[in-house]
């Protein structure tokens, strides 16, 4: 089931590549918008100065450091003027999660109206699921802080490094587990049209634990592919000559696209997996809302209020 879900997930994303395209376009546009303030800040310093050539032909870190040290470049303004666009993308993705899941579940091209109707219809449920997910993610954060604390107490740097690395791997797996759990909750919210999100999250936890092996396999497989593509992309980027920054930008955008693809692939695989799971476990997966037939007991024989009239002869 797991392997099939990975493949079907890939096909779903591919068939609905319009979604990927739009998500990437929004990511790209918000990224572009985030450069407005930095562009103005750097323009006034660099565009008329010959020293800026040292950033174009290669990348002289000294020039960048000197630029950042200058009072002309206001790092706070740069951050405040660009980081909100990252938050906007976050809210955008939170908003359209319901629409994406509906499109993957129904496996048909939704009209724009249908897509946004689904997005809006499920939005508050997705918000609630996200808020619930912060609890286990916070716990993982604490685990990570503990690992860091332990590793900082270790005298041998090599051992400390491996402890930290093990901690990171452990936390990544834990985060993946949380992600797949809440992805199942999101899918379930859409598939079952659930309204009680706490109950839904708990039910998703039970389902995820029961099928932990296959779900983790799905998520790990897709993540590993994503990480490999990321590493390859960065390697390729490092090989692009410094003055060909158009090409290097293109390579990095392809890396961005691949990471979005990976995430949608995980979502699509979870939708596909849940469909199969629901077929195999109808009782466990589907909560019947149709009332069971009620057996009405025969009324007890009532004593005659009045004795029957004597039969006349």
């Amino acid at each position: 089931m797991a392997q099939g879900s990975v493949g079907r997930g890939w096909s779903l994303v591919w068939r609905h590549s319009r979604i990927l395209g739009w998500v990437f376009a929004i990511n790209l546009l918000l990224g572009l918008a985030s450069t407005t303030v930095p562009r103005v800040e750097f323009q006034k310093l660099l565009d008329h100065s010959l020293i800026s050539d040292r950033l174009v032909n290669g990348f002289d870190a000294g020039v960048l450091i000197e630029a950042i040290m200058k009072p002309d470049i206001n790092i706070r303004a740069l951050t405040q003027g660009s980081v909100p666009f990252a938050y906007l993308f976050f809210f955008f993705m939170l908003f359209i999660t319901g629409g994406i899941l509906a499109a993957y579940r129904e496996d048909r091209r939704l009209t724009t109206g249908e897509f946004f109707e689904a997005s809006g219809g499920y939005f508050w449920r997705m918000v609630r699921i996200f808020l619930f997910s912060l609890v286990p993610l916070g716990v993982i954060g604490i685990v990570f802080a503990i690992v860091l604390g332990i590793s900082s107490q270790i005298d041998n740097e090599q051992t400390a490094f491996y402890v930290r690395l093990s901690g990171i791997i452990l936390c990544v797996i834990l985060v993946l587990l949380v992600r797949l759990w809440f992805d199942v909750a999101q899918v379930r919210a859409v598939a079952q049209n659930e309204h009680g999100m706490f109950h839904n999250v708990m039910r998703a936890l039970v389902i995820s634990l029961k099928a932990l092996g296959s779900l983790l396999w799905i998520y790990l497989c897709i993540s590993i592919v994503g990480w490999i593509v990321l590493a390859l992309g960065l390697w390729l980027w490092s090989k692009v000559p410094g003055n060909h920054f158009g090409i290097s930008w293109l390579v990095l955008e392809l890396v961005m696209l691949s990471q979005l693809f990976t995430r949608l692939w995980q979502r699509a695989a979870s939708v596909s997996w849940y469909g199969l799971y629901a077929e195999e476990h109808p009782a466990a997966a589907v909560e019947f809302t149709t009332p069971q037939p009620i057996e009405i007991p025969e009324p007890p024989a009532m004593p005659p209020i009045m004795p029957p009239p004597p039969e006349s002869s």
Partner: protein
Amino acid sequence: MRSLRLTFLAILVLIPLLSIAQQAPLSQRIVVYNIDAKYDAKAHSLDATETLTYRNLTGKPLDRFPFHLYLNAFQPGSTFNEESSRRGGFRTGMGGEDNNGRGFIDVKQFEVIGMGDGKSKFNFPTPQNLTDKMKFVAPDDGNPKDRTVMEVQLPQPIAPGGEVTFRITFHDQFPEVIARTGYKGDFLLAGQWFPKVGVWWRGAWNCHQFHLNSEFFADFGTFDVNLTVPENYIDGATGVKTAEKKNGNGTKTVSYHAEDVHDFAWTVDPHYIVINDSYTTSAGNKVAIRTLMHSDHMGSADRYRDATLGSLKKFDEFYGVYPYSTLTVVDPASGGLQAGGMEYPTFITAGTAFGLPKGLREAENVTEHEFGHQYWYGMVATNEFEDAWLDEGINSYTEAKVLNALYGTDTSTLSMFGATLGNSEQQRIAYIPAADLDPMTANAWDYVNGNSYGSITYGKTATVLLTLEGIIGEAKVQQAIRTWFQRYKFTHPTEEDFMKTVNEVAGQDLSWYWDQAVKGTAMLDYRVMSATSINADPNAGFKAKKGASYDTVVVVHRRGDFVMPVHLEVKFDNGDVLHENWDGKDRWHRFRWTKNAKLVSAEVDYTHQLLLDKDSFNNSYRAEPNDSATRKITSYWMIAIQWLGQMLAWLT
């Protein structure tokens, strides 16, 4: 046969004589230290007896002797502590939350055991006990709680040319590693661990307290040190190891001898991995290099080795021969970074990290820098309290020269993922934040804060000398530094000696430069204030015809108070390139040309030699803006924000 025998005898006599002649002292040996120390590895403490003979070459009778007791810097209320809590920064704190982790030195007994008048010498049958004559003094700030300097008044003066021998019994408690000394686990770096006599300099005792931002100053002499340490511990120290014997009680005693040095440091750790190497100098003498590594840093072993050998070679080539027969390179234990990046005679501590990327040349940087100190702190031996720039600063300049030669001018500090940084530029960047805060000549403890001390002493000095290359030429500056070393090694020269030497080699009086760059806080900043080309024909209208005549005007502005001549390069769109000079004395200067070409760019200091110029962005102006750099930076910025957005969205 007899004559053959005589010749043979003569040779036998001559060989040792020749060898003695070869081993003539390199320095005026003023002090002779003999120390017997027993280290308690569990308590990180030691008990020792020091016998110090001091030769009075001051030309005056001396009856008062100051001593450094550096380890007391780590006690509450000390000047070091006051300064570190006020200013913060690297190498601060007390090395522990309570007295268990704090360092101190306790002089148990102070005796005079012998005297001499230069001709004869005798030991007292009964040593004069002066323990109750010891008193703590605070010559710099009068802090009564500071116990880093003690003074002893002798009952009778030591005549000029005479000598006195002290016997000092003391107990050290090492701190958990801090400010260049202390322990971390089993690792110990014992620096500044024994009572060290001050220096008679410029007609007075020079013995400053231990400050947050100051280092050391001491007289040359010989050291014979016996260290009793656990038998399984691996040791390293200043000088040459002369003996090692097992004591049969789980300890061993190792003996070290060092000549013509002014300090003695040592280290022990049972976990050291020893790497032996050697280097033969241009004079033919062999230097035994001993690197003491920790297992988790073995990935940096080759990097240390290459930097050490490369530095020995380049210093030999640029400045002179390393005269000692040993060099010990210590890799501090993990968590012992405060012991790293420190220099002691023939003994340096480097610093690295597990998995340090190769393109980040931190291990090489530190190793070269500390080795460079062997020349400036170690042999020229300037006063690091009062003239810190003569050691740290000149050393930062030579660091740039040596590392640039070894690893490339543009890549000697960083070469990773297409990003590069050269050491010269690193020095300049270090100087910029505090460019006009303090003069280089300030006492180390008088800087406004630790950042200014670091920026000015290291970064500014290096940048001043790199800029000087633009004035008198690189070869002249290098020659001046070589002359400075050759002329003043094993003495304690002053700032004036340095500037005099450079003037002499340059063949010109550079007072105008020293006054502004070294003694003053003037800021250097030239800029192209405006650069325009206007059609010379007022009736030409907006649309210029081909071959039209243009008036080009470039205004160069001196923004800072630092005055020095500058050169201007102006490029035109017909390919013409003009070079102009300006003495820089006025606040601004206007250049004007009428040509059948329009201005492309104007650049002041177009050879990029005025590294002291605080703002390199305003040095040039191009008529047509080129946004390639802006696009490159903002494209990376864009990717970073997209990535951040995706990371956040992953949570939804």
